[in-house]
Symmetry: C2
DNA sequence: ACCTGAACACCGTTCAAGT
DNA sequence: ACCTGAACACCGTTCAAGT
């Protein structure tokens, strides 16, 4: 006879940090950061909230650190860029998309939480500049100005896109025009 | 006989929205946003937490909206600027200082909460550009790029200044160099 | 008008216990 | 090793009551 799992055995995929982070992102993206609680997260994972502590001993703090780390990585754009300016434009678009896709995590990004994750983002941007042949000294300023612009723009876009928005704005167009302005200065 | 207040009379200044906001800012600046609770706020004001609801019927939501409104107003710089570039530089420095002085409120600023407060900030910046004689079309892009840069830089600065900072950085110098880059592009 | 006290439904987290 | 259940100290908020 083939061995059957007992009726009461909970033979589902065991918990893992990846599954926990994924479920947390789904709650945040769907209901907002304020509704992310350990108990609700446990429900989503079909587990008691306390089980999460077995995988994240530092509890909710560690969970939030993990969320920041997750959005820090801008997915690489496969296409080959014609020059450093096009490469930077693509990087900026990819990072903005990442931030907007998980806009609920944004408040965590403007905290001193998990500063190591920020280094990841900076490194990927510096790599694009290096490949584009931008001199080291100019690259440092350019990277900082560009990253600041993308983060700041996204913050403004999120604020201006809420339910009771004050003004109707084409945020795609506004982003591109500001980006052009910043990139023009890099060229000087 | 001169009328004396009874021993048990609580003859202290009555609660007001201004006093509540002020006390909340003090808690945030000193202990962080996470430790701002209605009960602690009540303690700071020497009142039961429930008394706050008499002045802020929408409760903590309304309190947070008020905090966002408070940091939205960049204090005017008294000195007379020599030209639009100097005027913008001063505006940027003043706004960065405001954000850093209340860095704990920053997470609230990257939410869709109280979008009307954002209009206040934008208006003050647009006024500087108007006085500087920057043409309307260029001013719109410049204002957005500059405001984004200042907000984004401050977010990065707060992240890079925490207790377990990864790198030592002269944030004043970095801010100025990025600001110069953005302002150079406005000039084109 | 302004504040209090008790109560309710929720939170994050600990700890001993189960399998 | 992995998860549960009960418990603790805390939240935001309501509502009736006090002055």
């Amino acid at each position: 006879m083939v061995r059957q799992p007992a009726i009461n055995a909970k033979d589902r995929a065991p918990l893992s940090i990846e599954r926990i982070i994924e479920a947390a992102l789904q709650i945040i993206d769907g209901q907002g950061l304020g509704r992310l609680t350990m108990r609700r997260l446990g429900d989503a994972l079909e587990v008691e909230a306390m089980a999460i502590y077995h995988h994240l001993p530092r509890g909710k703090e560690q969970l939030l650190d993990g969320l920041v780390a997750h959005v820090a990585i801008a997915p690489a754009d496969g296409r080959k860029a014609a020059g450093w300016r096009e490469a930077l434009t693509r990087w900026a678009h990819a990072y903005r998309k990442r931030l907007l896709d998980h806009a609920g995590v944004l408040p965590l990004l403007v905290t001193s939480r998990n500063p190591a994750a920020l280094a990841t983002t900076t490194a990927s941007l510096r790599e694009v500049l290096r490949e584009g042949g931008v001199p080291e000294a100019a690259a440092a300023v350019a990277a900082h100005a560009l990253l600041s612009y993308v983060i700041g723009h996204t913050a403004l876009e999120v604020r201006g896109t809420g339910e009771d928005a004050v003004e109707v704005v084409d945020w795609d167009a506004r982003f591109d025009r500001g980006l052009d302005l910043v990139l023009a200065a890099v060229n000087l």
